[in-house]
Assembly symmetry: C2
Homo-oligomer: 323 residues x 2
DNA sequence: CTAGGTGCAAATAATTTGCAGAGGC
DNA sequence: GCCTCTGCAAATTATTTGCACCTAG
């Protein structure tokens, strides 16, 4: 919010030249939130400095887009709008035709499907734009609601934590059940340890969530920003059902590995999208925690499965060891 | 293609007046395929009739959009383009920034996610636009490929049939396995009968598919138009794994019911989107077939479960029958 | 005869460009 | 001093509008 430019411009090497005017325009632009029309920016800049021409602002915007500081978005009106990319990742839009306001959301699920379609058509996608036009709740009911604009990074952090918590919860559930159902004492101990760790980690995450909410009491009530189906019930939900249906410890371990891996991947890949922000940090830390678990699980799996189905490739290098 | 207007205009009561000029413009417009710029249409119309002014064409287009004959699309250039809705349902776009061509696709999966997001935000969505910008395969490899434009309804029919066939195949697999694994002779007979029906139906669908391809030899090679994950392996794929894992006949029946119902819903809902076309017909016929199966399954389920878990509501109307 | 469609030319609206001058390194 | 930014005004592009006229019902 109160961040000054250097960091920002550092996103990509500024292609054009720095100059007083540009910095001035950039400064005004960055102070704004939401989607700004070019002319609105001219208006705002002129409020501070009368002598700036429209063309200069247009040129500055052009430069900002090239430099990756701003994104040009078309919200279906006749003109373009601009939003800055700082702490504001690519997202999709819900656009109300009645009040002309727009709100944003993220959906890894949709992104994944888009990627699939593109790759099926061997199309190399650089950017995708999804706009949902319609009428927002406020316009239909007449009630006023929280202004949705801005604070995207906080919403992201909140939803990241929620997903992480849901994942931990389902993981805890999974490991607890697995420990109970375990046949092998070694397996039982392993699952118990994992469950214990999940419990601790869960506590930490919940504390962090409470702390985040304490900073902004309205935060909890804000609508979902990050939609991710896979995490609605935690990434282990699917696996947890399996336990108690007579699967072996080894199978349970395998399921756990799959779940942890999926979780690790998701958090790592998605965390990378954001510029520096709390949400990104949460995502990446969580990814790291999952990776640690994953490693432990894989080690455990190897130990538990006394004779691997096939010799591991690394051992099959030379024919020295006989079968 | 060679369809004349009456049907088309009938889509919605034509709001404005019919007039020589408009019909002329409309005619030219409908003969085109793909996305037409307003000025391009002016150009085309003037080739037939010199004396038509730009304003008239613009007004005609406006009217067509209002009448539901045309859709105004923004492909991210500075101007709008128009496409006619006849045999051309709402779809998404892949837009090549290099050759400026765009190709279309459908994705019920994405649509479903969009609906979920909208409803989570209590946003009533009227229309959603998804554009994927990037570079197409032809531009990257230099090779020329099948022109993708047009013939959307044939592609839709082709993909509808593919999905239907995959569904039938997985259904056949499911019922065959279930019949083998059945414990109850009545259950076995039921599953066998269903498997038999699926086989017949599958044959019909495959014949229809071959017939469709015969009409246009290039059709098979064209890229996927309708992306639907649920059907990649047939809608029964998930259920089929279950069989042989010691589930009861009743559980298998329940799974079958779920699968058939999902399939029925999908085909019915999605079929409804299209204007009259072969694809729509395939979808709706298939939905009907699934409905018939579904009814049979439900009847069978009731018979097989001799004592329902709870008394059915319809019987619990009066307190005459004692527990 | 009259509502609405049509042509022409002018208006609009967002954005870009040519050119002369100003400013930072 | 050079190169690029800047301001101003004019150009451009896509689309709309005012107005007089025409045409179908």
């Amino acid at each position: 919010m109160s961040q000054t430019l250097p960091d920002l411009v550092g996103l990509r090497p500024p292609v054009g030249k720095r100059s007083g005017r540009r910095e001035q325009i950039l400064n005004v632009f960055l102070r704004q939130e939401g989607h700004l029309g070019a002319d609105e920016l001219v208006e705002l800049v002129r409020r501070e400095d009368q002598g700036i021409s429209r063309a200069t602002v247009y040129r500055a915007l052009q430069w900002m887009v090239e430099a990756g500081i701003a994104r040009k978005v078309d919200l279906g009106e006749g003109r373009f709008r601009f939003e800055h990319s700082y702490r504001h990742p690519r997202h999709f839009h819900l656009i109300c035709k009645s009040c002309n306001r727009s709100s944003e959301f993220l959906s890894p699920d949709i992104e994944a499907l888009v990627e699939e379609v593109a790759s099926a058509r061997s199309f190399s996608a650089r950017q995708s734009v999804l706009q949902i036009y319609g009428t927002c709740a406020e316009c239909r009911t007449g009630r006023q609601a929280t202004p949705d604009e801005g604070a995207t990074d906080l919403l992201f952090a909140r939803d990241a934590l929620r997903i992480a918590i849901a994942t931990e919860q389902s993981g805890l559930e999974f490991y607890s059940r697995a420990a109970q159902a375990a046949r092998n004492p070694r397996g039982r101990r392993c699952f118990q340890r994992l469950a214990g760790e999940e419990r601790v980690h869960l506590g930490e995450l919940e504390a962090r969530y409470r702390k985040l909410l304490a900073g902004d009491p309205q935060l909890e009530a804000r609508p979902t920003f990050l939609f991710f189906k896979g995490a609605a019930n935690g990434l282990f939900a699917a696996g947890a059902d399996q336990i108690g249906r007579g699967v072996s410890d080894l199978e349970a371990l395998m399921t756990a590995i799959r779940c942890e891996r999926a979780s690790h991947r998701f958090f790592k890949r998605y965390g990378a999208r954001f510029e520096d922000s709390e949400g990104k940090q949460i995502f990446l830390e969580f990814a790291e925690a999952e990776r640690a678990h994953l490693e432990r699980l894989v080690r455990e799996y190897r130990l538990l499965s006394k004779r691997p189905a096939r010799q591991r490739a690394r051992r099959a290098r030379g024919p020295s060891a006989s079968a």
